[in-house]
Amino acid sequence: MILDGRKPPLPSADKRWRLVDAAMRRNGYRPQGLIETLHAVQEAFGYVDDAALRFVSQSLQVPPSQVLGVTTFYHQFKMKPQGRHTCVICTGTACYIKGNDRALEHVQKTYGVSVGGTTPDKELSLVAARCVGACGLAPVVILDGVVVGKLVDEAVQARIREWLKT
């Protein structure tokens, strides 16, 4: 692929590409908007795939290697589709001290999913976070965006079981 200075067409008719394009336009298609753009991709699609990498690289005139480098550098950007549910387990210090290491192990063992991975049936993705800033409620897990605090061992396991049924 050549960076020929031409603005590429949107990769498909999918409306979400327009959101991505809008993010780049806000930054005047300048390379410095790369991270903002990747945030937009991540938000719109849930992950950053090859098509997105190419599109962003050409639009911003940033070499693909650099786009890939930035994408892999930051934990926030995922390169694989996420499951139907996402369970974030905080492994920040406060949560760790209060027993979230056990919750992490439990989810890994019970549901057969590794940190950063997704179950084969695409039901559950497991993410380990470094402190979500709710340490007063430690230990904290985030189930599909809902912060759940102060539950340990059996209690948190039951909560996760219930939530997965929804």
């Binding site: 930035v70 930051y74 920040g92 406060a94 001290i97 340490c135 007063g136």
Partner: protein, 564 residues
């Protein structure tokens, strides 16, 4: 907005409040929001309406009150007729929407709901000194008028109208304020350096990356009192001559980002940001940049690389950001809490500020007190209080009848402080002398159920994962130290491993490029120093390693035979 308009808004707000009998304040920050505080607020609003009390009772959403673990918290403030009278407040804990009828009935009858009541004379409240957090949990963070009503933006007017940039810096220097981001560098000195550099373009950055896992001071300030930070930034920009600012916030803090965005828009509309601010010959704009989950981006040079859209890898200093920062231009970078201290300093004077604290550490410091302690939450204390006061009085001691073992400050860059030093005053120098650091404000209490090797291992895993990989000592060293700590933790270590671990600590500390690597060994060094027994207990004796035979012939298998 002119100064007169500002005062008019203030007066208007005061009068509106004067019509009220009660202000019902519901915490809407991340902690309480996750335990459903918005529904509590809605239920209270509904009850007030049904009881026909809208005229005299106001329900509003406020920021964090500090005791997040007991949330949702609701504060009932009886509005005082006399200005300046001490506030008459009542705090309810763990409130649910079902409690709303009783609470509102209590307002009408003047009888508090006893079962929900939290005693305000608890040392948790009385031992704190709230300066930066004075308005957190009292004002509605989504309304600029609330901030103005409490004297907000007056410091900005004072600085612009009555002070030269040099005088602003002089005042900040006099206050003795030191950076709250961890390093403790004197803020006045930093501002002075940036101000002196000649350049057509200077930048200002507010570091809200808050990477220390287990700390949430900055998140809380941004969520609870965003204009305080913006005002501090504008004053800073005026002092150093910057015309463009960035707030670099972690993407993990969506509510803080939302409130900050909103506050910036409000400040723009009011004319506190933009061209010719408050009629002065001074322009300043602020933009938000989102982090993307990389601890090292809290380091200033990495942070700037990230704003430029690149990988967040630190670069050697000098040149310091003051000389060559964002896009090679002179840049002032300070932490959220540092900026939040500034309006108070300008308004009340540096000398007044410097009266609180110790000789070398002035003012107050916010800590996120968490771990095995009864009251977990956000606290603000004068510099120089002892660790014992913080943990046993404010924190209420250790739960479940367990014993205190250590307190960890400074996160992955800090160390563990054992019981015998509990009477140490909390200030930059004293904590460094103990092999820990003040850090940004994480304070995690560890009880005797935790192994200190595991704590060290935990932090080393963190540093290993978060190392950007640019320099070898940190990239490889943290991985090696982590492996060694795993051996200790599993009881597989040898004497040799202990020596190797100590050597590596020394090497990584002295040869890494940035602060991450330079401080990564601290948790190991401090636990080796104060809890060496735990390491020694995990070392295998030679006969365990090599079997009894090794003992019998006096040397280990594989050991080179000494020939005469």
């Amino acid at each position: 907005m002119t100064n007169e308009e500002l005062l008019a808004v203030m007066e208007q707000e005061r009068q509106a409040k004067g019509q009220l009998k009660y202000c019902v304040q519901v915490c809407s920050s991340t902690g309480c929001a996750s335990s459903n505080s918005e529904a509590v607020a809605a239920a209270l609003q509904q009850q007030v309406k049904e009881a026909n009390l809208q005229e005299t009772v106001q329900v509003k959403l406020v920021g964090c009150m500090g005791l997040c673990a007991l949330g949702p918290l609701v504060e009932i403030e009886r509005v005082q007729i006399q200005p300046g009278a001490p506030p008459d407040v009542l705090l309810y804990q763990s409130v649910t929407p079902a409690d709303a009828p009783d609470i509102v009935a209590g307002l009408a009858s003047g009888q508090p709901v006893r079962r929900l009541r939290l005693e305000m004379d608890d040392p948790f409240f009385t031992r704190q000194t709230k300066v930066v957090l004075a308005q957190a949990g009292r004002i509605d963070p989504e309304r600029i008028e609330d901030y103005i009503a409490e004297g907000g933006y007056q410091a900005l007017f004072k600085a612009l109208a009555e002070m030269t940039p040099a005088e602003v810096i002089e005042e900040v220097s006099k206050s003795g304020l030191r950076g709250r981001g961890g390093g403790g560098y004197p803020t006045g000195l930093k501002w002075n350096t940036v101000a002196k550099v000649q350049s057509d373009q200077k930048y200002l950055i507010c570091n809200a990356d808050e990477g220390d896992p287990g700390a949430f001071m900055d998140r809380s300030i941004l969520e609870s009192d965003p204009h305080l930070v913006i005002e501090g930034m504008i004053i800073g920009a005026y002092a150093v001559g910057a015309n463009k600012g960035y707030v670099y916030v972690r993407a993990e803090y969506p509510l803080a980002v939302k409130r900050m965005r909103q506050a910036i828009r409000q400040a723009e509309r009011a004319g506190f940001l933009g061209q010719n601010i408050c009629g002065a010959d001074f322009s300043f704009n602020v933009e938000i940049r989102l982090g993307a989950g990389a601890f090292v981006c809290g380091e200033e040079t990495a942070l700037m690389a990230s704003i430029e859209g690149r990988r967040g890898a630190p670069r050697p200093r000098p040149p310091y950001p003051a000389a060559s920062g964002l896009w090679g231009k002179p840049t002032l970078i300070n932490n959220v809490e540092t900026f939040a201290n500034v309006p108070g300093i300008i308004l009340n004077g540096g000398d007044a500020y410097a009266r609180v604290g110790t000789e070398k550490s002035k003012g107050t410091k916010i800590f996120a007190l968490t771990g095995k302690v009864n009251h977990t939450g956000l606290i603000e204390v004068p510099m120089g209080v002892t660790l014992r006061e913080v943990i046993y009085e404010i924190g209420g001691g250790i739960p479940d009848g367990r014993r205190f073992k250590a307190v960890q400050t400074g996160g992955p860059s800090g160390g563990c402080i054992p019981e015998q030093f509990l009477d140490t005053p909390v200030d930059y120098e004293s904590l460094s002398a103990l092999g820990s650091i003040m850090g940004s404000g994480g304070m995690i209490v560890i009880d005797d159920s935790s192994s200190m090797i595991d704590v060290a291992k935990y932090f080393m895993e963190f540093s290993k994962e978060e190392s950007c990989g640019k320099c070898v000592p940190c990239r490889v060293g943290t991985a090696q130290m982590y492996d060694l700590l795993c051996k200790f933790s599993a009881g597989e270590a040898t004497e040799f491993d202990l020596r190797l671990l100590e050597d590596l600590c020394d090497l990584v500390r002295n040869t890494s490029l940035c602060g991450l690597g330079q401080t990564a060994p601290n948790p190991v060094i401090s636990t080796l120093k104060y809890f060496r027994d735990e390491y020694l207990a995990k070392i295998k004796k030679p006969e365990e390693v090599f079997g009894v035979a090794a003992r019998a012939n006096g040397r280990a298998p594989g050991q080179v035979e000494q020939t005469a």
